[in-house]
C-alpha cells in the first residue's frame, strides 16, 4: 500500500513535469494555480480532514501570502522567490499566532464562525487601508528570480510556463512530502484522535488545544506559501483573495477532491481549476453550474472524487445483492 502510494505520487509528479510541452502554453498557464491551491489546500485539509475543523476564513492566509509576495518584491525590492516563500510563511504564521490561539478554543460551528469573522476582519483591513495595502487596487507582485536566476531572456509567459512551472511543481511536491510526514507523525495521530473523540484523546495525554493550535499554525503557513505561489502568475495581491466567498471556494475545492484522503486536496485543486475553466468557456453563468456541482457533491458524494470509486463499488455491490435475492423477505 505504502509502495503503491509512493509509486502513484512519483507517477503524478513525473506526468506533471512532462506536461508543459505536450499541453502547450495556454493549458500550462491553466495548471499554474493548481500548485498554489494544492499547497494551500493541503494546509486547509490538515484542519478539515485530519482535525475535523472547517475554517471559513482560510483565504486570509492565502491573501497574507500574496501580500507578503507583493511587499517583498515590490516594496523591499528583494527578487529571490525563496525569500518570498519564506516571508509568506512567516506572514502566515504571524497572522495565525493570535488568530489560531483564539480559534483553537472552539470547534464546529463556532470555529467556522470565528474564522469567518477573522477573515472578514483581515479583508476589511486590506480593503480600507489604502496607504498600506493599496485598497481595492491591491498591490503589484513583481517577477521574482528562481534560485538566483533571472531568466532575463524569457518573456512573462515563457517564464511562467517554463522555469516557474517546474519550480512550483517542485515546491508543491516537497511540501506535500512534508505534509505527508506531518500527518503520519505522532502529532498527526493526536490531531485525528482529538477529532474523533476529544475527551478520550485528553485522557490519553493529548493536549487537545495545543494540538489544534499547532495544526492551525502549520495550516496557515501552507496557506500563505500557496498564496505567494498564486500571486506571481497574476502579478497582483488584491483584497478579494481574503473575501469569505474565496474561503468557501477553498473548502469546496477540498471537498471536491475528497477531504478524507491525503491526496484529496491536490486532486481537488486540479479538478476545480479544470472544471471552472471548462464551465467558464461554456457560459457566463458558470457560478450557477459550479454551485450545482457543489450541491451534488454535498448530497450524493461527500467523500469527493477520491471517494467516488468506493461509492460506485458499494452501489454495485448493493445492486448485485438485490439481483441475487429477487424476493427479499418482507420487513418486519
Amino acid at each position: 500500500m505504502r509502495g503503491g502510494a509512493l509509486l502513484a505520487a512519483l507517477a503524478a509528479v513525473a506526468a506533471l513535469a512532462a506536461a508543459p510541452p505536450l499541453l502547450g502554453e495556454y493549458r500550462t498557464t491553466l495548471l499554474l494555480p493548481v500548485f498554489g491551491y494544492g499547497v494551500a489546500l493541503l494546509g486547509l485539509n490538515l484542519l478539515f480532514g485530519y482535525g475535523g475543523l472547517v475554517s471559513f476564513g482560510h483565504a486570509m492566509f492565502v491573501a497574507a501570502g500574496a501580500y507578503a509576495a507583493a511587499v517583498v518584491t515590490g516594496v523591499w525590492r528583494i527578487e529571490s522567490f525563496e525569500a518570498v516563500l519564506l516571508a509568506a510563511a512567516a506572514a502566515g504564521l504571524a497572522l495565525a499566532l493570535p488568530v489560531g490561539a483564539l480559534c483553537a478554543r472552539y470547534t464546529k460551528i463556532f470555529f467556522g464562525m470565528l474564522t469567518l469573522a477573522f477573515g472578514m476582519l483581515f479583508h476589511s483591513f486590506l480593503f480600507k487601508f489604502y496607504g498600506l495595502t493599496g485598497g481595492d487596487q491591491g498591490m503589484r507582485v513583481r517577477r521574482p528570480t528562481l534560485l538566483g536566476l533571472e531568466f532575463e531572456e524569457l518573456d512573462k509567459t515563457a517564464f511562467l510556463v517554463g522555469p516557474y512551472y517546474w519550480y512550483c511543481l517542485a515546491v508543491a511536491a516537497l511540501l506535500a512530502l512534508l505534509m505527508w510526514r506531518i500527518v503520519r507523525s505522532p502529532f498527526g495521530l493526536a490531531l485525528r484522535a482529538q477529532r474523533d473523540n476529544p475527551r478520550k484523546a485528553e485522557y490519553l495525554g493529548v493536549e487537545v488545544r495545543r494540538t489544534r493550535f499547532v495544526a492551525f499554525l502549520v495550516s496557515a503557513a501552507f496557506g500563505a506559501v500557496g498564496g505567494a505561489m498564486l500571486a506571481v502568475p497574476t502579478g497582483l495581491a488584491d483584497p478579494e483573495l481574503a473575501y469569505w466567498t474565496h474561503s468557501g471556494t477553498l473548502v469546496f475545492m477540498t471537498l471536491l477532491g475528497g477531504f478524507a484522503h491525503f491526496a484529496g486536496p491536490l486532486l481537488g485543486a486540479l479538478a476545480y481549476v479544470l472544471l471552472q475553466d471548462w464551465l467558464m468557456s461554456l457560459t457566463p453563468y458558470w457560478r450557477l453550474l459550479l454551485g450545482a456541482v457543489l450541491a451534488l457533491i454535498v448530497l450524493a458524494c461527500p467523500q469527493g472524487l477520491m471517494g467516488l470509486p468506493a461509492l460506485l463499488r458499494a452501489r454495485l455491490a448493493a445492486r448485485r445483492r438485490r439481483a441475487a435475492a429477487p424476493h427479499p423477505a418482507p420487513a418486519e
Partner: protein
C-alpha cells in the same frame, strides 16, 4: 450636530433592514439548526423583485406614496422560494454542520448567477420614491421620511413576530419544535410542516428587507454575499437563534457602522468584525443567547 443626527438616522435605517434579514436567519437557525448563508440571496432577490415591481407600478402611474406596501408585497413574494429550498435542505438536516453550511454556500453561488441572468449586472434602483414622502427637519438635520417609514415597518414586523411567536398556537408549536423536535413530533406536531413554514417565513423576511432598500440604494448582485456576512455579524453579536438578540445586534451593527463612518471611515467594517470577534471570544453564546450546556 446635524451631521450626527443624519448619520444616526442612516444607521438606524440600515439596522432596520439588517434586522429583517437577521430575523429570518434566526428563525431558521432556531428551529432547523442551519446557518443559512443563502439569506443574503433572498435579500438580493427581494431587492430585484422590488425594482421590477416598483418600476412597473410607477410606470403605470401608481402614486409613489403607495410604494411602501407595494415593495413589502414584492419582497414577500420571495417566500415562493421557501418551500422548494427547504425541501432541498431537508436532505442534510442530520448531516454535519459543515456540510449544511456548504450546501447553503452552493445556493449562494447559484442564486448569484440566477439574479444576473434575470436582471443583469448593472446597479438598479426604484427612482422617484425615496424623497416622495418628503423629509423631516430636525434642527439643521434633514431625514428622509422613507427612512423613518422603513424603521417603523421593521419595528412593526418585529412586534408582530414577537406576538406571533409568544401568543399564537402556531408560535407555541414552533417554539416547542425548536426546543425539542422529537418531543414535539411525539406530541403530534407535523415537524416537517413547521420546518417548511419557518423557512418560508424566514425567506419572506429577507426578501422584504431587500425590497425596502431599493428606493434608497441601488441593487447589485454582489449585495447578496456582502449582506450575509453582516447579517451573520448581527446574529453572532445578538446570540444565535434569539429574536431579541437579532434586534439588539442589528442596532449595534447599524449604529457602529454609521458611527465609524463619522469618526474614522476606514474602520467602518473593521469595527463590526472586531465586535463580532470580541463577542465570540468573551461570550460565545452572544448577548441574548443561552450558553450551550
Amino acid at each position: 450636530m446635524a451631521a450626527l443626527i443624519e448619520v444616526l438616522a442612516a444607521g438606524l435605517f440600515h439596522a432596520a433592514v439588517l434586522f429583517l434579514v437577521a430575523a429570518g436567519l434566526q428563525l431558521v437557525f432556531g428551529v432547523q439548526r442551519i446557518l443559512n448563508l443563502a439569506c443574503g440571496s433572498f435579500y438580493a432577490l427581494g431587492a430585484y423583485l422590488g425594482v421590477t415591481a416598483g418600476g412597473l407600478a410607477l410606470g403605470a402611474g401608481l402614486s409613489p406614496l403607495l410604494a411602501l406596501p407595494l415593495l413589502v408585497l414584492a419582497g414577500a413574494a420571495v417566500a415562493a422560494l421557501g418551500p422548494p429550498v427547504e425541501r432541498l435542505l431537508r436532505l442534510v438536516y442530520d448531516r454535519d454542520e459543515s456540510f449544511q453550511l456548504l450546501l447553503t454556500f452552493a445556493l449562494v453561488l447559484m442564486f448569484q448567477d440566477l439574479i444576473r441572468m434575470g436582471w443583469g449586472s448593472q446597479p438598479q434602483q426604484v427612482e422617484g420614491v425615496y424623497l416622495a414622502y418628503g423629509q423631516v427637519q430636525l434642527g439643521a438635520a434633514r431625514i428622509p421620511v422613507w427612512n423613518l417609514l422603513v424603521l417603523a415597518a421593521a419595528i412593526a414586523i418585529a412586534g408582530g413576530l414577537g406576538l406571533f411567536l409568544q401568543r399564537t398556537d402556531f408560535g407555541r408549536i414552533l417554539r416547542a419544535t425548536a426546543e425539542n423536535r422529537r418531543m414535539a413530533a411525539s406530541l403530534g406536531v407535523d415537524t416537517g410542516r413547521v420546518y417548511a413554514a419557518v423557512f418560508t417565513l424566514g425567506t419572506a423576511l429577507g426578501g422584504i428587507g431587500g425590497a425596502l432598500v431599493v428606493p434608497a440604494a441601488a441593487a447589485v448582485p454582489e449585495k447578496a454575499v456582502e449582506l450575509v456576512v453582516e447579517a451573520f455579524a448581527v446574529v453572532v453579536i445578538g446570540g444565535l437563534g434569539s429574536m431579541p438578540g437579532a434586534l439588539a445586534g442589528a442596532a449595534i451593527v447599524g449604529l457602529l457602522r454609521a458611527g465609524a463612518l463619522l469618526v474614522w471611515p476606514e474602520l467602518e467594517l473593521l469595527a463590526v468584525y472586531a465586535v463580532v470577534v470580541a463577542v465570540l471570544l468573551l461570550r460565545p453564546a452572544g448577548l441574548f443567547g443561552r450558553p450551550a450546556a
